[in-house]
């Protein structure tokens, strides 16, 4: 009977597979473990790894963050809070900016949401603390003095809003319209 034969075959195959499995694990006993021992050996992480969050600066050494609230809006655990304010020259900035790292899940959505490349995740993951409150990072803890992954981008060269000087000075902008122009 072909059916019976088939079942026999399947049982045999199963047994062989079982033995193969046991053999494989048994062989592993004699292989060198692949474990890297962490504090003695720190593996270099790729630059796009997602860990500690920083606030970067633009090439003019100004804070990139314009406190647009997009990061806090996109944050699935609501760990970012801030207050936007206006600087004397009209530039929008964060009066205070706070990330509660005890809540952060390092999903990187804030970085994706950031229109000015201000908020960035770095590969530095060693941020454990015993006191939860020390994990609440303020702006001065987050702000670094470099541009992070992109050193060139300067949002205020593209924005088209007046910060200093006349309108029309940003990239791809025409001179301001002359309201008294005689041209049709």
């Amino acid at each position: 009977m072909p059916g019976e034969k088939n079942r026999l075959l399947r049982v045999t195959e199963g047994l062989v597979a079982l033995i193969q499995g046991f053999w494989t694990t048994f062989i592993h006993l004699f292989r060198k473990p692949i474990t890297e021992e962490y504090p003695e050996y720190k593996r270099p992480l790729p630059p796009r790894s997602r860990a500690r969050i920083i606030l970067t600066r633009d090439p003019d050494f100004e804070e990139r963050c314009v406190a647009c609230y997009l990061c806090s809006a996109s944050c699935p655990v609501s760990c970012i809070s801030m207050q936007s304010a206006e600087r004397a020259d009209g530039r929008r900035y964060a009066a205070w900016f706070r990330i509660n790292f005890s809540r952060c899940i390092y999903c990187g959505l804030c970085e994706e949401a950031c229109p000015t490349l201000a908020i960035q995740l770095t590969p530095d993951f060693e941020t454990c603390q015993y006191d939860l409150l020390t994990l609440v990072a303020e702006k001065e803890d987050l702000l670094v003095d470099h541009g992070g992954k992109n050193q060139e981008y300067n949002y205020y060269r593209y924005a088209g809003v007046l910060v200093d000087g006349d309108k029309g000075g940003h990239i791809q902008e025409a001179r301001p319209v002359n309201l008294k122009s005689n041209l049709p």
Binding site: Y69, A85, E138, A159, K167, Q172, R175, V177, L179, S181
Partner: protein, 837 residues
Amino acid sequence: MPQLIIDRREIEVPAGTKVIEAAARLGIIIPRFCYHPALGSVGACRVCAVKFLEGPVKGVEMSCMTAAQDGMVVSTTHPEAMEFRRYVIEWLMLHHPHDCPVCDEGGHCLLQDETVSGGHGLRRYLGLKRTYRDQYLGAFVQHEMNRCIHCWRCRRFYQDFAGYRDYGVMQIGNRTYFGRFADGPLESPFAGNLIDLCPTGVLTDKPARFKGRRWDLERAPSLCLHCSLGCNITGSARYREMIRVEGRLNEAVNGYFICDRGRFGFAYANHPERARTPRLDGQEVTWEEACRTAAHRLTRISREYGPGAIAVWGSTRSSLATLGVLQRLCREQGWLGPQFFNSPSRERKVKAAISRLDAGVAVSLADLEKADFLLVAGADPVNEAPMLALGLRQAWRRGATVVVLDPRPVHLPLEFEHLPVPPGGIDLCLDLLVRAAVSHSATEGLLPEAAAAFFNNLSCEYPGDQPLQDRLVSLGMKLKESKNPVIVCGLDIVRESTVVLAADHSRLLRAAKDRAGLFYLLPGPNAFGAGLLSLAGEPSSPSYADMLAAAEQGRIKALVMMETDPFRTFAGQPQFLAALDRLEFLLVLDYLPTPLTDRVQFFLPTTTVFEEEPSGWVNQEGRCQQAAPIYVGGRPISQEGAGSHPPRVFLAGIPGGEPQPGGQTLAALGVALKGTGAPLYLEELDTWLAELNPVFAPLLESKVTHPGVRLLPEARGDYAFSHPNKATLRDVPDDHLELLLVDWTFGTEELSGYAPPTQEVEQPPRLTMQSRDALRLGLGPGDRVSLALGGESITLDLEIVENMASGMMVLPRHRQLAGQKFPEGPILVPLQNIHKV
């Protein structure tokens, strides 16, 4: 009634309805920028394109420019229409700056929504972007012209709808610019509506600039308390701080818009000096202790001197619950009061007005816009209740005649007849105008008996002044032809007889024409509620001044001041301070940092309309509306955090979160006084109110929902006309000038006086006088004058105008001015008391 099919759903709409509106009735919101229900269609933005499949119109057309017609089959999601709209968005976005992150509109921007939903993500245009220079438009509105998409909403509202002429459109084509001729503050007191109307971030809220995104705000439907109209607003708060206020649609009251006083006057709720903890003898105490101690002391005084030794003041800026509990507390304890009005004549006028309103004759602001003849007696709408001016303008745009009988230099954003008669002469003009209008009906014998008797009593002698006589006659003829006249009566400067007369005349007009309306302006957002309670209360509760005199004589030992600021009434008066000093116990409950809160021994904080509890308010037409709480109160984080950061300590309670709504505080006090733990006062307050005054009954039957319930008696046939005295044009002696204390849009209203944005725009107080009087006194324009008033003297700038009554001076009740601001009766100033400085 055309019937059409939109997106496979059938609808029947009134003739003339645009397709975009018909779709909105089905809940289909077609994209739009230039179209606005209040402003109508212009077809400027081209983004409301839909596909007409069948019927009289075929193809892709603008839904805002096409009137609904029978047999139309419309698809809003047809690929052709969608593609059209997608291209339109792309064109509109050609020059749009890359600034959503720093734009305050981001998050509630119509352009942003339509761009994202239309799928336009990448700019294909590689050329240079057009830029504009921005303008300074005053303290309220921020201008950022680069973001403009030329929908024309701002200009259409500012010039067409509101009638102001200093903001508009310049240049043509690609250079079209919306702004002023030169930098400067916008003149319109309705300019804030541009913020709501602008579909993108060109015009944004300056006081709320960079305060937060829409999605982070706590928002709730609330009410404006800056005059008696009861406009509907949406309040937004964040981090325990009121951030901004927007207009909220209520077709019966304010429509879509509100005035700038209501929009920017909310910041009293965030005042840094607002006391937020109960205080006892200068010590901060717990809530329970405060209530216990207050009850204890009041009980002791009541036992020693009798309950009549305790007097209670209220005000018209408290919610209905607060007023009701206050009234009930006084009843039960036998205390004196409560008195809600700061002058007896005000009280009498409010009572007279309220007792004469009924459901038949009272008109809402929306009804008023449909009137064809508006007789404004003793009211200065822009200054007293700005939204009334906007309502008058809408009526005028529909062809109504507007006549203003007022001694003040009234300005309205419309063409109107101003008869600058003294307060005493308003009665005469009313008599003459209405008499002329109804004399035909009277002679035909068409008037009911009571009305005819009243008609026969009216003054019929025209004043000697010929031009005034001519104008009265011609206006009387117009009133005669009108079909739906409305009498608007202010309560501030008019004589008490005018209030009654306005009601009588509206009844007379109604008898002659079947339709006529009556519209009062009341002092304070809940003056109607306070008036209803006063009407039901003691025949005459002692006035503030009486109570003070009694306190000075030692007959009153304790005073309870509920959300009232006596310094506004008796500013700096030694008698007032002496009376306060003689009191054994002074309990102040308030949410404002009034001058009193600092000096009292016993203080209980209450909450503003924006915090914690829904509250009821009755506007000037008797409409009870509910303001929902917006946020849980407490000291704003910006004040708590000492500058840069909010505090990092986490507490169980909210800092400064102790204040309770006034009604609850009083109810707790009542419980403490009775010594029982039973809940009372608030739970069955509505029942108690309905027993007190049957007009409160609707509160029991239905929840106070949008657009509010009117607390008015049904129209009755047996209206009791008054017996008017013979009116004269002038009742002031020649060697005196009558001083009118008046309200201004900014600077005189109590609540907005604590808000920095409105403080910024208020003008310094000035004395206004007619040129003839100035000539008589030898004064010229630009002079500074000193005015001796009741032993004190004030010095201020003089303004000379033509369009006001002579024999008058007008002085604002400015918050920067000391002196009694709510005097009894007309103030007559002898000519020698006015000097040039």
